[in-house]
Structures are given as structure tokens and as C-alpha cells.
Amino acid sequence: MKDPMLVVKNLKVSYKLKDRVVRAVRGVSFKLVEGQSLCIVGESGCGKSTLGYAISVSLPPNAVIEEGEILVNGVNILKTDPVTVRGKLVSLIPQDVGAALSPLNTIGEVFADVLGSIGGGRDSSLKVASDILKSLGFSDPQRILKSYPHELSGGMLQRVLIALAISLNPKVIIADEPTSMVDASLRREVVDLINTIRYNYSVTTIIITHDIAIAPSLCDITAVMYAGKIVEIGPSKSLIEKPLHPYTKMLSKSIPRIMKLVELKPIPGLPPDLGSPIKGCPFAPRCPDVVGDLCYNVEPEEYRAGGRSVYCHLYGGASHDTISA
């Protein structure tokens, strides 16, 4: 097997608020090789976006990385000058297309500054930018470079954002909810585009989404996050066809299907408050298969099965001896 391109080891991120500390990511680990893609799926507030910002070194100032390592191509990016990491090793495809670019600057100015950050003049930067835009299917890149964001359609902006993210040839790209803000008709296009850049630039991609349905078409691996932790991770296809963790099961039952008439089952209850300590399995209060006191008191450990990891007592995580401890 190839050396891993991205390694995340026991990452813990919290937000310091005025009166409390919110633990958004509570120990996440995974590995990806070059060109591999990972979908991170979960409800709002499960910590998936925080994880994405941590990997792209763009956490807000009140966020603190309490523990863990992020290695890109062997470099611990948390201990490196962010200027040498951002855009060059790791880059971000942002979520909200409408707010992603400054309305007062042309697309060309943004490209000039992004490409200019590795040196090189304005003219050569714009030349490179126009080539990237052309490779992403723009027939008239010069016009795009002269445009302001409000002069472009949502689909065009999405492509411009992808072009900006790959312009410095990063090793890892994080796409934050790439399909959530575009029209349904454009989703397919965005999915295809991300797949194209993944193959053409053999870049490792992480896609953050709440839409478990797009996972198999987009990513090799899917990780399901709940309350700041990964509860199940494995190859996308098998994970969605045969989910093991009760939360993954319930998530896939909440996907609307066009061809089959199935009753949609929303998951009852709310995720736990990450501002207070969590005892036992965080999903226990909402879990239909909860195994009594064990789930409420002991945090489940990793259980491996067929290339899959699942964190659930149903699969024999912790031994019963630890309950009294």
C-alpha cells in the first residue's frame, strides 16, 4: 500500500466561548492515500465543518487545537507556518457560493493574489488562471477574470471556487458542503467536476456533507460523524448498503428516494450539547438498539470488520468488566 498522503491522529478541537468551552471535534483519526477521497457525513453541529477547517488551517481565532496531529505528505501542518500550508498543501472549496468571494474585487484580482502568494507577476498569474479556468470548461476565461462575483451564475461561481482552490496544486482539498448551496440541477455537475479534478490532479479530497446520498458517487471512503467523533468509517458503497452503526442505519433511512416509495424516517431527538461533558456513547439517548447501562456509561471503542471501523457496543467494543470501573 502507498504511503498515506493525509493522516489525522486523535484530533481534538474546541471553541472557547465567553462562558464555556465547546468540544466540537473530540478525537478523530483517519488516513488517506494520494488521490483517495473521503466523505464526512453528519448532522449540523456534529463537528464535520470544524474538522474541515482544522485540516485546511482556517479555523476561526477562538478555536483551539487541544490535541492531535495532521500530517500532509509527512509534514505536520499544525506545527508549520500556515503560509506555507494554505493553498499549497491543503486548500478549501468553500460552502456558500454567494458569500465566498468579495463582491468588490474581480475574479482576476483574486487569482492574481492567490497565485501571487508563491511569487510571480500579475500577468503570468492571470495567464495561469486563464489556463485553469479553461481546463474547468470556461470557454471565455478572460471575461470571467474581468467579472465581479455578482455578474456570474451560481454554477459558474462554483467552478471558479474550485479553480481557485486547485490553483496552487495542493495535495489535499476540502470541499465544505459543495452541493448544499447550488440548485438541484447543478448538483450532478458539481459532483462530476470534483471527481474530474480529483482524477486530473490526483489530489486527495475530503467532502463534507450532510447528504449521505451523494457519498457513494463522490467518495471512496465515507466517515459518519456524530457529536465530534467518527462513529463509523469504511468504503462508501458497503457502508451505505450495509450500515453497521445504528446512527448510520438511521441516516440512510432518512434519504428520500425517487424510484422507490419508502417511508422517510427522521431520527428522533437531538445531538448532545458539546459544551458539557459526554459520558458513554453520545448516541445512546437516541439509539433504538441501546444496550442498557453499558452504552450510557462506557465510551465504545473501535471495532473492525471487513475494512470498516465502527464504534458501537453492539459489535463487542468494551468488555462488561469495565462497567463497574
Partner: protein
């Protein structure tokens, strides 16, 4: 795309209406205050007959509306009348007084912006920190302190107690007489350089420092506070985080993106505050015996010099509205969204 000519013409027309309104109101206000300006015109110890003649000459016995029509008629010919106090044409007086005010107000305004903008940015970048607290407190104090009070305190401490800077006048009066200094443009810093007298220039600059710092307090506080809140707002925008994640340095983000957000609203409110700065300069002029339009208008008011009062205030109104029109046009030019 440049701003359309029609828009500029429309703005200038509005300016004209505002100025006419100001002239009308000030005209009526001067005529209805119970005063006897004929005493000033006729001079001390005037006889009844001389006073009657003065009233006739100044048309003080005619109905206000008739006086108003006469005034407008000569105004249309560019004639602001003759000052009853100085007996010079008002326009000539104003032209010689205006540079003093402009020199003071522009210097103060420029100092205010030059200090306020970096202070505001610094505070925003250190949000919640020590620098932020200092900037916040001092700018609130700065916009709350009455200008005349600050002027008196500065004068007392810096000029009288410590003797660091001269306490008044635009130029050392005795030095001006000895050297036979005659203003050319009316901007003394420029004039002293034009005649190549470095010693006079240094004297003029030293005298300009204190009053312009006092005039600078308000625009500085306003600039710093607005810059701080606008910068905080735009630093939280998604696009700032995105630019950062694509590898653009923080200094580039501030210089080329955040400032673009800050400047249009800043220009708009600074334009409005230039009027306030002018008024502040008037007060400072009186305290520092500064030969400017403020002094001229105050003297005119104290001696019921109607043509000078109306003329002076009209010039201020013209300045104020022109600056506002200019700010609006500039705003449309900077912000591409305004043009849509």
C-alpha cells in the same frame, strides 16, 4: 464604468436648492433679531439724521421681502454686498479668510484620518485585547469631549504651562511685521515656502500643530471607531477565511480586500463629518486668535454685520453640500454595486 453626467448634474442642482434654502433662512433670521446695525454703519456719536440716512442706505426700513429680493438680485450678479463692519466687499473678506480655515480644517482632517485608520485596524486585529480596549475608550472620549474645552486645555497645558508650542495666531505677529510678510495664496505654510523663508515656515507649522491636533480629535475618533467596526465585520466574512485558505497573506487580504469594504462607508460618513470639523475649526479659531472664516463670522455676528453673516454662512453651506455631493459621486465610483 464612470458615473453618469446626468447623476452629477442632478446632484449639483440639489446643492443649489439647499444653498438657496440656507440663504433664505439665515436672511430671515438676521432680519428678525432685534438689533440696530445702523449704529455700526453710521459710526460712534452719530446724530439722529445720520442714523436715519444709514437706515435708508442699508434699506433697513423696507419690508423684509423687498430686502430679500434686492439681496438675491445682487447675489445673482455674484455680489455678496459690503461688510458693514470692515466696509470691504464680503466676497473679498471671505476669500482672504477662507484659506486660514481650510488650512486648519484640512490639516486636522488629514491628521485625523491618518491616525484613525491604522488605530481602527489595529484595534480590530487585536479584538478584545489591550490595544482594542485603549482605542475604544479613547475614541469614545475623543468624540464626546467638547472641542472648545479641549482647545482651552491644550492651550493651557502645552502653551502656557509647558511653553512647548505657541498659544495662538497663524504667524508670529511681530515677525510678520518685521519681515513684511504678505500672504499670496492665504495658505501660510505654502506662502512662507513660496517666499523661501524657512524660519517663517517653521513658525507657521509650529503654530498649526496644536490647533490642527484639536481639530483632528473628532475625525480621528470617528475614523478609528468606524474602521474598527467595519474591519471586524468584514474580517468575519466568508471570503476572508477563503482567501486565507487559498494562501493569500493577511496583509494582502487587509490591503486589497478589507480596505475596499471599509473605505466607501468611511468616505460617506467622513464627508458628512467634514461639516462638523469645519464648525470645530471655527471654535478653535476663536480660541487661538486664528485668522479664518470662523473668526470672521463670529465677529460679524457680534457686530450685526448682516451681509457678512449671510455671506459667510452661505459659503459654509456651499462647501458642505458640495462635499456631500462629491462624496456621493465618489461612493458610486468606488462601489460597483451602487452603479447597478
Amino acid at each position: 464604468m464612470p458615473v453618469s453626467l446626468g447623476y452629477i448634474v442632478q446632484r449639483l442642482f440639489l446643492t443649489l436648492i439647499v444653498v438657496l434654502g440656507v440663504v433664505t433662512i439665515v436672511f430671515i433670521a438676521t432680519r428678525i433679531i432685534p438689533a440696530h446695525p445702523e449704529f455700526l454703519w453710521a459710526g460712534p456719536h452719530a446724530t439722529e439724521e445720520q442714523l436715519r440716512k444709514a437706515r435708508e442706505e442699508l434699506r433697513l426700513d423696507e419690508p423684509i421681502i423687498v430686502q430679500y429680493v434686492y439681496y438675491l438680485k445682487s447675489l445673482l450678479q455674484g455680489d455678496l454686498g459690503v461688510s458693514w463692519r470692515t466696509r470691504n466687499p464680503v466676497l473679498k473678506d471671505i476669500i482672504s479668510a477662507l484659506p486660514g480655515t481650510l488650512e486648519l480644517a484640512i490639516t486636522g482632517f488629514a491628521i485625523g484620518i491618518a491616525l484613525g485608520l491604522p488605530l481602527g485596524l489595529l484595534a480590530a486585529l487585536n479584538y478584545g485585547g489591550f490595544i482594542d480596549k485603549i482605542v475604544r475608550t479613547s475614541t469614545i472620549a475623543g468624540s464626546a469631549i467638547p472641542i472648545f474645552w479641549a482647545a482651552l486645555i491644550f492651550q493651557l497645558v502645552l502653551a502656557i504651562k509647558l511653553g512647548l508650542l505657541p498659544g495662538g495666531h497663524r504667524i508670529d505677529p511681530s515677525l510678520a511685521i518685521v519681515t513684511g510678510f504678505k500672504p499670496i495664496t492665504g495658505f501660510y505654510t505654502l506662502d512662507t515656502l513660496l517666499i523661501g523663508r524657512l524660519d517663517l515656515f517653521i513658525d507657521v507649522v509650529k503654530r498649526l500643530i496644536m490647533p490642527s491636533l484639536i481639530v483632528a480629535i473628532y475625525p480621528m475618533s470617528l475614523t478609528a471607531r468606524m474602521t474598527r467596526s467595519l474591519a471586524l465585520e468584514s474580517l468575519q466574512e466568508d471570503f476572508v477565511r477563503n482567501l486565507r485558505s487559498w494562501g493569500v497573506s493577511d496583509s494582502t487580504i487587509i490591503r486589497r480586500y478589507v480596505l475596499k469594504f471599509i473605505i466607501p462607508p468611511l468616505v460617506a460618513s467622513l464627508g458628512l463629518s467634514f461639516g462638523y470639523t469645519l464648525v470645530g475649526a471655527f471654535l478653535v479659531e476663536v480660541i487661538f486668535a486664528w485668522n479664518g472664516l470662523g473668526m470672521y463670522i463670529v465677529m460679524a455676528i457680534l457686530s450685526y454685520d448682516y451681509p457678512a453673516i449671510i455671506g459667510g454662512i452661505m459659503i459654509v453651506a456651499i462647501f458642505y453640500t458640495l462635499i456631500n455631493a462629491f462624496v456621493d459621486i465618489l461612493h458610486a465610483h468606488i462601489d460597483p454595486r451602487v452603479r447597478l
